[in-house]
Symmetry: none
Subunit: 248 residues, 2 copies
DNA sequence: TTCGTATTTGCGGTTTTTTGCCTAATTTAA
DNA sequence: TTAAATTAGGCAAAAAACCGCAAATACGAA
């Protein structure tokens, strides 16, 4: 097998799997580790891949990830717009915290006339910047990790509300396990919010889909609408659509 | 799994959930805690994340809501220091909002162990940054001008507290008219706070002395301690000393 | 083809990197 | 305060990388 052939093969493998191991390649092609290492070194010099200890990584994979970080804001903006379109004047709305919710708060129509209830300090501040909506902060002990108020009093307050909408930021959403979180207190709050609302909307970037955390907040059938940055017909959303969720 | 892959994965998780735990990561990727810890350490050195005990935090999330405003910073710093010296562990403390209070929150001894109740969203966030104190947000409608929660429910909550201290930022303080404010709702809150506390401390820069606003919050005899940036013996403070206030 | 040269490859020995485990010290939570 | 969890630092084993060299191979020219 020629050197050129080998290198083509390596790049091909890299395209397929996004990563290759020295040991694997040498075994597959029946050459020594040193040869593979030298190949990888050359290809790295030609900027065709990223050499790492033990093998190499696809370049596109790495850069795509970096770009994604920048795009995340763009994604959240899309989500915020879609969500804002569902809110109508006169509504009473319960919301959690999180970056998606904050972005949503910034995207609301300045003429909107609604009442927002929230346990998130940051969200309350963001909503309060809006000229006409009314903001009610739900009080209780402040959880330092999440900057949310949590506790029995907060839950009780939420229970005394009859809201039209509940808008929750997704931490993890899974077709089987449903909506889940890692913080027990926060889970209690979110559960109460869902119960106190006629409709529940979950918003978040698609990467949070198909992941689980320790504690379940709600089954999928308790959630009415799912909003991500993806096109509603995207194949990744199909399993959720089949479970009865409305996708935007 | 390659080291680089692991680190990418960690950053990805961080991007998704804003926080990661060593234990979770090591479990997810099937490597030892030590390895994860070393990864986090490296990434922290590269400024990609914030390492904390037990895991790491997303950089963007944590730095997004940090500090910004500085007016009479020097003066407010002096006030904050004097005020912080009066707080002891175990105390229950009611506070209003305002820049002086925020500065005070930053000046608290990291080992202090007290419970703070507040109606101010910004103050609650600032207090929550402290490692050991407990923060209770008093909920109600958010007043947009002041970023305070106000209303009957908040007043009622305050009435159910027996606090050791009440620390109020001064808006206007006058030897004759006492402590005054312009916002009816805020006044109700502050009145309730004073009533619910054994001692009341007013803090603010001396410029706010000898001025009046529309609505009275409290007479001078309801206030125990006055803290400004001035030396306690400053002549400007004499009239207040004569009225029976303790000056710091 | 055959030869000479340049390149490529494999190998042994050494160095570096990575990882897991151990213990002691620190931090956290109750 | 105590008990549990987390971390730091040292150590050792395994894997990978590096280095130099000699053998093998490719390639062009005679």
């Amino acid at each position: 097998m020629l050197k050129k052939e080998r290198q083509e093969f390596i790049l091909h493998q890299l395209n397929l799997h996004n990563k290759v191991l020295c040991a694997d390649l040498s075994h597959m092609m029946g050459v020594s580790d040193d040869t593979i290492r030298r190949d990888l070194q050359e290809l790295a010099q030609e900027d065709k891949l990223i050499k790492v200890h033990g093998g190499a990584l696809s370049k596109s994979f790495h850069t795509a990830f970096d770009r994604k970080m920048v795009y995340n804001l763009e994604d959240k903006h899309i989500i915020a717009q879609k969500t804002a379109a569902l809110v109508q004047s006169g509504m009473y709305i319960l919301t959690s915290g999180g970056t998606s919710i904050l972005e949503f708060a910034k995207s609301l129509d300045p003429n909107l006339n609604a009442t927002f209830f929230t346990c998130s300090l940051n969200a309350a501040i963001e909503f309060a910047h809006h000229p006409s909506i009314e903001v009610v902060m739900i009080g209780d002990k402040v959880s330092k990790d999440s900057m949310l108020t949590t506790g029995a009093s907060a839950v009780q307050t939420i229970e005394s509300i009859q809201a039209d909408l509940c808008i929750l930021g997704i931490n993890s959403l899974d077709t089987q396990f449903g909506l889940s979180e890692n913080d027990w207190e926060v889970v209690q709050i979110k559960k109460a919010m869902i119960k106190a609302s006629k409709k529940t909307i979950c918003i978040g970037i698609s990467e949070k889909l198909n992941s689980q955390q320790k504690i379940k907040v709600a089954n999928l059938d308790e959630i009415d609408i799912l909003i991500t940055e993806l096109n509603p017909n995207d194949s990744k959303l199909l399993p959720f659509k089949h479970k009865g969720l409305t996708i935007y």
